[in-house]
Each structure stands twice: as C-alpha cells, then as structure tokens.
C-alpha cells in the first residue's frame, strides 16, 4: 500500500501547473482583463471573432458564445506564456519535433545560449564573416532502421544538412561528418552508409571536409549515429525567414507529403502493413536555386522534416503572428501514404518528409513559384495549398475536404495511433 495518498496524490508538475493557473487567474482579476502580452484578435474590436458580437446570432446563444470566447482568449494568453519544461526527465516526446521539443529548445537551450544570431530559431544561422554572408547549420541522425526503402542514414545525414542550408537561401558548400559507432557494428554496413553519403554529397554539390569518429561499448548506442554540420554561402540580398510572411502570401509544398515518415514506420516491421512507399530523401539545393532565380517574391522556405508540414505552418503562424489557412484537398498525399495513415490513425500533415519544402511567396508570385517548382524533377507534384491571412493570428486552420474547418495545432509528441 505504497501509492495513492488521496489528495496530495498529484505529481509535482500537476500541482505546479495548478498553482500557475491560479496565479494567472488572480492576476487577471486584479489587472485589466487584457494584459500587455495579449495580442490576440479577441482584443481587436474590428475582427468579428466572437459569435456573440454577431448580430445574426440568436440571443439565447450569445452568453455561451461570449463565455466561450473568454475561455479561448485565456487559452491564447496561456499559450503565449514563457515556456517551461515541467517533466523531471527527458521523455521521447521531447524529441518528436512537436510542442515538447519546442518547449525544451526555448526553455533550456535558447535560455542558456541566447544571442541575436540564435534567436530567430531558423534552420541555419546567418553569419557575417569578413565580406561574406555565411549560413551555418548542424543536424544529428539516429534513424531506425538504418536502411530503408529509398535510402539509409547516410544520404539522410547529407541531405538533411544540405536542405537546412538550401532553405535558408544559401548555396551549400562544405559538410562535416561525425560518427558515433557501437561496438560490433558491421564494417560492410558502415561502408554502404559512407558510400551513400559520398553519392548524396556529389549530387548536392558539397564536399565532406572534416569529421570525427567515436566508438562506444555495445549497448550504449544503436549501431550508428551520424552528426553533420554544414556551411553555405548566402547572397546578402536574399533574406528568407518565416517571420517575413504577410497576409495575402501563398503557401506551397513541393510534392506529396509524409513519404519518409510512413516508410520508416513500415520499415520497422512492427505493423505488419506492406505498402509500396519509399523515402523521399533528396537534396533540395537545385530546386531552391531554381525557385529563387525565377521568383523574386519568395519570403520563406522550410524543409518539412520532423513534425511534418503542420509543424512548419505553425512556425510560420507563430513567427509572423499571422493566420495560415490551408485547404485539405489541395495538399498532395500519395494514396499509399494516405491509406497507411488512415489505418494507423495518424495525420499525414504531421508525418516527416526528407525532400519536400514548404514555400511562402508573395500572393501575386504564387503561379510563377508553382511553375518554377514544377519545372524541377523533385517538384513535379508541387501545389499551392493555402494562404497567409491576418486573422486568426498565430493559428493554422484547415478547410476539410468535407467542408468543415478545424485547427491544425502543433503535436505534443509522437503521433499515437488511436485504438478504436
């Protein structure tokens, strides 16, 4: 009879969260209901967000709608509060690319390393070195299984870093490669991996110029982990960033989404589902160069990796304090990927890609951008999936094929399949 002391039963963080909640409530009651940090449309009298203020709303509904709006505003404020890691230990959610990852980055890493170059939290940092403008990025790879249809950890490690440079508008030049190997790992496998890296680097026009090797005891790692860092050269006149998104801009994706994530899930063999899917891992450098050369109004590019397209859209909405509205029927998803996702109860919008980008371009340039993407072999199925709006700020909404509307929020952790 060790567990369960009735009322003190709550864990540390539950008690913590409740205390914070009460403090915030007290503060709200004391101060004016709209604090300084409050920047939502709810406080903007020109935006008719509340059904209560809508004269067509039947009177008996109004109080409820108003109360609901108050709650939604309160949530909005809660979401804008300073992030805090409540868990005592790192859980798998912290690595899933969703809310937990973002909280970890902002509350721990950004807090410790804070500087103006890091703060934008873009895919790569923009540095002035002498007369040159340089992009610098790094990425680690721990994929399991190491080999999967369409690629392996090697080409993934090269393309991932190349793409982080490319989407910041840089021409990728040089990479580093760090290996953490587990005692007992097959040399033949290592050779295969490095050959893939060599080929991927050649295809992307980059060279691996320095590296590092560590070996750890059996059981202390899972075969092979790779870290790559990369530098690229930026055209000083090009300035891309998700914070640049403006209402009226168009949002595009460069091809069908979710291929990589679903491939990996199926390659693990735990699901007994077979489907003809391959990872989309590829260098985006060529396509980005073509897009930037053809279209002047590109505001931001992102490669949709962990967390999928949905996470990128949320980053845009948050960074630029704009709304992003996408149409479900416009989003390209392969039938095989959609089928597997339906079976597993996951949403392709959150599934990782490794060779797809999301582009935000000025509205009047949307068609040019689409044509430029489609002219490239990787972008044949590119599509305009939505637009940037003024309202509601910070939120991504999806018009469903069915004709309804829903929010597309950041995921908390891994997409968990529904059980019934």
């Amino acid at each position: 009879m060790t567990t369960g002391q009735a009322e003190q039963g709550a864990t540390g963080w539950i008690a913590d969260a409740l205390r914070e909640h009460q403090d915030a409530e007290r503060h709200e009651r004391g101060a004016h209901p709209t604090g300084h940090d409050h920047n939502s449309a709810g406080s903007d009298p020109t935006t008719p967000r509340s059904a209560g203020s809508d004269p067509t709303t039947p009177p008996h509904r109004r109080p409820v709608a108003d109360r609901e709006q108050q709650v939604l505003d309160r949530i909005d404020r809660a979401r804008r509060r300073r992030p805090k890691v409540r868990e005592e230990r790192i859980t798998m959610s912290h690595g899933a690319g969703g809310k937990a990852t973002q909280t970890l980055i902002e509350a721990i890493f950004l807090d410790a390393f804070r500087n103006p170059l890091l703060e934008p939290l873009e895919d790569s940092a923009r540095l002035e070195v002498g007369a040159a403008t340089v992009a610098l990025t790094t990425d680690s790879f721990v994929v399991s299984p190491l080999f999967f249809p369409g690629g392996n950890i090697g080409d993934l490690a090269v393309n991932g870093t190349v793409n982080d440079l490319a989407v910041s508008g840089a021409v990728p030049l040089y990479l580093t490669a760090g290996f953490i190997l587990e005692e007992g790992f097959g040399v033949a496998d290592l050779t295969k991996i490095t050959e893939s890296m060599r080929d991927a680097a050649a295809a992307a026009g980059v060279r691996v110029v320095t590296g590092d090797t560590k070996v750890v005891e059996r059981g202390k790692a899972d075969g092979c982990y790779i870290n790559t860092a990369g530098v690229g050269l930026l055209d000083p006149s090009v300035s891309l960033g998700v914070a640049e998104a403006r209402p009226g801009d168009a949002v595009l994706v460069s091809g069908p989404i979710g291929d990589h994530g679903v491939t990996i899930m199926l390659a693990r063999g735990e699901l007994d589902i077979e489907a003809d899917v391959r990872s989309d891992t590829a260098s985006l450098a060529g396509m980005v160069a073509a897009l930037l050369a053809a279209v002047p109004g590109v505001r931001a590019l992102r490669d949709a990796t962990r967390g999928g397209v949905a996470t990128i859209l949320n980053e845009i909405a948050k960074a630029a304090d704009v709304g992003v509205v996408v149409a479900e029927e416009a989003i390209p998803v392969r039938t095989e990927v959609r089928g597997a996702a339906e079976l597993l109860g996951i949403d392709p919008m959150y599934v990782a890609c490794e060779g797809r980008l999301v582009a935000v371009v000025a509205g009047d340039q949307a068609d040019h951008a689409l044509a430029a993407l489609r002219a490239h072999p990787l972008g044949e199925q590119a599509a305009i999936i939505g637009e940037v709006t003024a309202d509601p700020p910070g939120l991504v909404t999806l018009k469903t094929v069915f004709g309804g509307t829903r929010i597309v929020d950041l995921l908390v952790g891994d997409p968990l399949p529904r059980i019934c």
Binding site: T2, T11, I14, A51, T103, I407
Partner: protein
C-alpha cells in the same frame, strides 16, 4: 481513395445538413449524445459542427476508453510495471495518462520497461522472445478491444505460455449509458450509438433506451457523412415522435453482433461485481476481469496490486465532461493548466477525449455555416 472519399463528400453533406435543419422545430433545442470517443474525434477533425444548426448541440459521451480509467488503476499498472522482472505493454493512448506519480512516458524515462504495442498479440510475441521476463499487457477499452484480448488469452493458454499475463481494465458500454440516463443533471433527446462497440454486441442491447426511456438511438459509423446521416435519422425519429433503435452502420454492424467474438470474451473473461469509472464513480457489473479458469494469466492475481482509490485533482472536472454536463471549455483548467502537453485529466490525453479533440481541432469560435438554413428555406 475508395471507401474513404465517398464518405467525406461535401455536396452530400450540404444536402443532409439542409434536411436536418428542415426537421428542427422552431424554438426547440436538441441535445444529442455521441457515446463514442471515436465519433467525438471525427466531429472535430472534420469540422462537422459547421453543418449543424444552432439548435442542435452535440454532447460528448463517456465512450473514450482511456478517459474512463481512474487514476488508481494507472497507479496499479505503474506498480506492476516497476517490478524489475516485468515488461509492461499497452496501447499508445495509455502512455501519457497521468497517474499520481506521472505517466508511463515519465516512468519509461526513469528506466521502467514499458513498451507500446499495436495489438495484444504483439505482447505475446514479446513474451515468447523474452522467456526470462514476465510480460504484462494492460488491457483497456470497451467491447471493441475486448475480443482481441480474449483471443490473446486463448492463444496464450493454447501455447502454454507461462510468462504472459493481462492486467484487465475492459469496461462495458451499456452500464455507462444507464448511469447517464439515470443522472439527474442531463436531459438528452437521443443517442448516436457507438459503431465499433456494436460490431461486437450488436444493436439489441440498446433497446431498453428506446423502450424504457423513450429516447431514439442510431448506431453510427465513423466517417463524417455517417454521423450526419445518423443525426438526420435521429431528428426524423424525434419529428415523428418515434423512439427506436436504428442501424445506420449496417455495412459493418450486424443486428445481433459478432457471436464468435462474444463467445471468446465469455470464455476468457467475466463481469466484475463493480468497477470505478473516472468521473462516473463505481458502476456495478460495468467491467470485465479475467475468468478464474484463466487465473494463470491474470496479472492482478499473479502479482497483486495496491488497489488504492485515488481522487482526481480537485480542479479536474473530467467527470462532468464525461457525463456531458460540462462542455470541455467550461472546465476551470481547460487549456490553461490542463493542455495536451500537460494533461491533468484523462479527457485531455487521448485523441478521442472530448477535451483533446476540442483543444486540438475545434478551439475557435465557429462561424456556423448558414448554408444549411439557406438551402432548407428554398422551395
């Protein structure tokens, strides 16, 4: 994609919405409960409320398997999992449910061996592969998932596996519906019946709702058009003053259920005298335990569990939400202290929980689509 797209057709939805709106009596308010969490998920994921007139309110019911597990049972599971010789397994939905000392995810981070499985048969595989460990499957869910647990027990016995057991938390839907019908704080006009549960138990068990309580029931599928059609069928019954059990999901649900599945459940499990439901309290004959003839596979008997009742944090109003008395956003801590990242109550954990569905998909003021009313006013 076949068998999916035809059930998400916007034109058909508009037509149905118009017919539903036409059936609304002016000035009358309708409260319909979707019993199953799968329906709640569909409703929010596809923005289905956009198609309904203001006078129809959907009330979210208790049919979310994760949501109804009381905190004490999570603690019991944690107690089992913390044994060094045990590998605990459960469905993904269980991983984030908070017990009084954190969730499975937190326990996993502390070094407890907890693994996510997609089927109890995967737990059986684990047991075969780890003969020196004792694999426990934490079984949760309504009659929907009970047959797969039953099949696993049958197979484990047939194979003579000695290191596999089930921590059984299966619940049954009918007593929960009874509890809601008997609850004084809620007046419902009809029920959207749980489709997946009904594939196993059939439609007959709902007959008392129509006969004794005078409320219509329509067993519904899980695509958005299924649900809209079910609402239409309920509204038709109400307009005509009927109360019957109807089966909208006849492409999957046989009227008499799945006898093979029911037999497997009966062979391996039996009703508990009573079981605690989160928010609803103790309900008699509302849950299943492993039958005595399968005692060798019953984790509760093999290991013993503390079985302490743990009260929910005071601020948590999951009970009211589960009974449909409160809308998710009416809970005091909704979206502020209780969010999908840090769920205090179970309704915020599972994607089928009303709070999580509302927070993730529905959290915005709806500009209700007026087409339905517009269309219905046309000659």
């Amino acid at each position: 994609m076949r068998f999916v797209d035809e059930f998400r057709d916007a034109d058909k939805a508009h037509a149905l919405a118009a017919r539903i709106a036409a059936l609304c009596e002016p000035g009358r308010q309708y409260k319909l409960m979707e019993v199953c969490g799968g329906h709640t998920h569909t409703i929010y994921k596809h923005g289905l409320e956009d198609y309904l007139p203001e006078s129809i309110t959907l009330v979210h019911g208790p049919g979310c398997p994760v949501c109804v597990i009381p905190m004490g049972r999570v603690d019991d599971a944690m107690h089992l999992a913390s044994r060094p010789d045990v590998i605990m397994t459960s469905f993904g939905d269980m991983m984030r449910v908070p017990g009084s000392n954190g969730s499975f995810f937190d326990a996993k981070a502390r070094g407890t061996d907890i693994r996510m499985v997609y089927s109890p048969l995967d737990s059986l595989k684990l047991a075969r592969a780890n003969p020196d460990k004792r694999v426990v499957f934490m079984a949760i869910g309504f009659e929907t998932t009970a047959p797969s647990t039953a099949m696993t027990l049958l197979r484990a016995k047939a194979e003579g596996l000695s290191n596999f057991s089930v921590f059984c938390n299966h619940v049954t839907i009918i007593p929960a519906i009874k509890a809601i019908l008997d609850s004084p704080d809620l007046r419902l006009d009809g029920f959207i019946g749980p489709g997946h549960v009904s594939t196993v138990i059939g439609c007959r068990p709902y007959e008392f709702i129509a006969a004794d309580h005078g409320k219509p029931v329509v067993v519904a599928g899980f695509e958005p058009l299924d649900i809209l059609q079910s609402i239409y069928m309920l509204m038709q019954q109400l307009a005509e003053g009927r109360s019957e059990v109807e089966n909208q999901y006849s492409r999957v649900v046989p009227w008499d259920g799945n006898l093979v599945a029911l037999r497997a459940i009966g062979e391996t499990m039996e009703l508990r005298p009573y079981f605690e439901w989160r928010g609803l309290g103790f309900i008699s004959h509302s849950a299943l335990r492993v039958r005595e003839s399968y005692a060798d596979f019953d984790a509760e008997l093999l290991f013993g569990v503390p079985g302490v009742r743990v009260a929910d944090p005071k601020a948590c109003q999951c009970g009211e939400v589960l009974k449909g008395v409160l809308k998710p956003w009416e809970c005091k801590v909704f979206g502020t202290a209780c969010t999908p990242e840090t769920p205090i109550g179970t309704c915020m954990v599972s994607p089928e929980g009303a709070c999580a569905a509302y927070y993730n998909y529905g959290r915005m003021t709806r500009q209700r689509v007026p087409q339905a009313i517009e269309l219905s006013s046309r000659p």
